[in-house]
Subunit: 333 residues, 2 copies
Amino acid sequence: MSDFQTFNGKQVLITGGVGFIGSNLARRLVTLGAQVTVVDSLIPVYGGNLFNIDDIRERVILNISDVRDPFAMAYLVKGKDYLLNLAGQTSHLDSMTDPRTDLDINAAAQLSILEACRQHNPGVKIVFASTRQLYGKPEYLPVDEVHPIRPVDVNGINKLAGEWYHLLYNNVYGIRACALRLTNTYGPGMRVKDARQTFLGIWIRNVIEGKPIQVFGDGKQLRDFNYVDDVVDALLLAALNPRADGQVYNLGSREVVNLLRVAQMFKELYSRVRIEVVPFPPERKVIDIGDYYSDYSKIEAELGWQPKVNLREGFAASLAYYGKNQQHYWDAA
Amino acid sequence: MSDFQTFNGKQVLITGGVGFIGSNLARRLVTLGAQVTVVDSLIPVYGGNLFNIDDIRERVILNISDVRDPFAMAYLVKGKDYLLNLAGQTSHLDSMTDPRTDLDINAAAQLSILEACRQHNPGVKIVFASTRQLYGKPEYLPVDEVHPIRPVDVNGINKLAGEWYHLLYNNVYGIRACALRLTNTYGPGMRVKDARQTFLGIWIRNVIEGKPIQVFGDGKQLRDFNYVDDVVDALLLAALNPRADGQVYNLGSREVVNLLRVAQMFKELYSRVRIEVVPFPPERKVIDIGDYYSDYSKIEAELGWQPKVNLREGFAASLAYYGKNQQHYWDAA
């Protein structure tokens, strides 16, 4: 991927840049010689954690602000070559209890970011981090990009609106933009304090704390996972390739596993893990989508992306990271 | 349609109730013996016009407020049996120049209306007026409900979010809701001052003022149209039938005509009509969708709806209405 040298000297803005994926992306871009500005709201219930950028703190510009602040965004987008637009409210449950906040962040703020680009920097290239959540309960597997859209929660609806604003501004105003529909991303830097970002977070925390990990239902639900380094690859490929403009791409994995198997892999890596199979909590059952895994052949064919890190390696790296750095991610009980 | 007697004595709230479709719906419901509350913002650039309810003014409760006002809506939804949710920003062009207002009305306010129902009146039945606009440029014709969703403007994205919030609240919270995807609706009470609601509005005004009517492009774009009385039928059928809960339905017409033919029909009704074929204005061309007409067999099969008023009758009634009432719809130049 020698093309990544293109980022050398480029101005890159990352929203959600102190969050999980944003901070890993910032680290990679700094290594590639980019001039990186990370924007983050640092709202405690979201993904931002300053420790995520501790090692690159002196090599990025850190700007604490909220994507809902149109004036801050209007300033920040100016002069940037790339906008990696990752800020979002990711909790499905929070989107149901506080739907308006989810709308403000995942839809309204996206529109104001795009308006800021249209007015102040129409030459920027934007990559938007979207989600497989908007497919809802799959009609067929694996789910490709032409699968019907059927969000099962407020978060899915708002993320979809946010995604489509990007494609619309590409198509109507020529502001180059594309979207990646991420599946379950995991790795160092993810929120593990609770299950707001992914259930894997709370599993990892529980493993390290010596608590049981809970599998809901029968544990047979199939899922696909991407290690964060692979997602960073995809974001950079999408940023560089003009073929991506106006497109959406699924990410995904060759390894499709059920949740019980994931728990067993944790146990293989960390023998003291205890697995509890428990009934689905009602508030989760109602928005559960059953089996899900993506067809990622479009991004493979068009942008040359493939996931490289297998689950065992990725889980091992994640568990090692949080074993070492737990004090930066949650307060001991 | 004797079932419509069910509305006798029922409490019905109509948002956008002083607008085009809302006022026709209010008139029908009053005739059926319903207790009707009409809510309208009366924002001048939208569809509300008090003359639309002049003949039923003493038989409805008129409440001027904005669907963006969550406190007003929380009060107004209480105790209602039916909510016919028609308020919206309908101008595609305005949605591009002022996307945030479109989002606030067509998405955010819908979410707050649904939250108001969830908190204060979960037993209400809601019918949401959606639009064929969210299909974008058709992949095939006629367009049925499983056609891919691909909005071509901000209005389409926001209307879709608004529609999906309704289906989500039906599915997750059991608040009975459905959506009708309206195609071009026309008839007495539509906005004719300008083309914000439909191009037919400005055509009718021009006919009555003796000005030429303009056909964009070659005039070969196919469209389907519904006379407002037929749309009122569909809204009432959807309100009554439990089979509609959680569903979306296209409206449509047996008569599919191109725009030049529509102009010619006007001329047949009103011999002094002059037709001008002019190039597409660039701001309209970019959001034009080419040919469009709906497959409405789903609502026909499931709810027993059929359009009854043919174009010639409907256009004649519309032209007669505006010829007589023009002073209430625009200021003479």
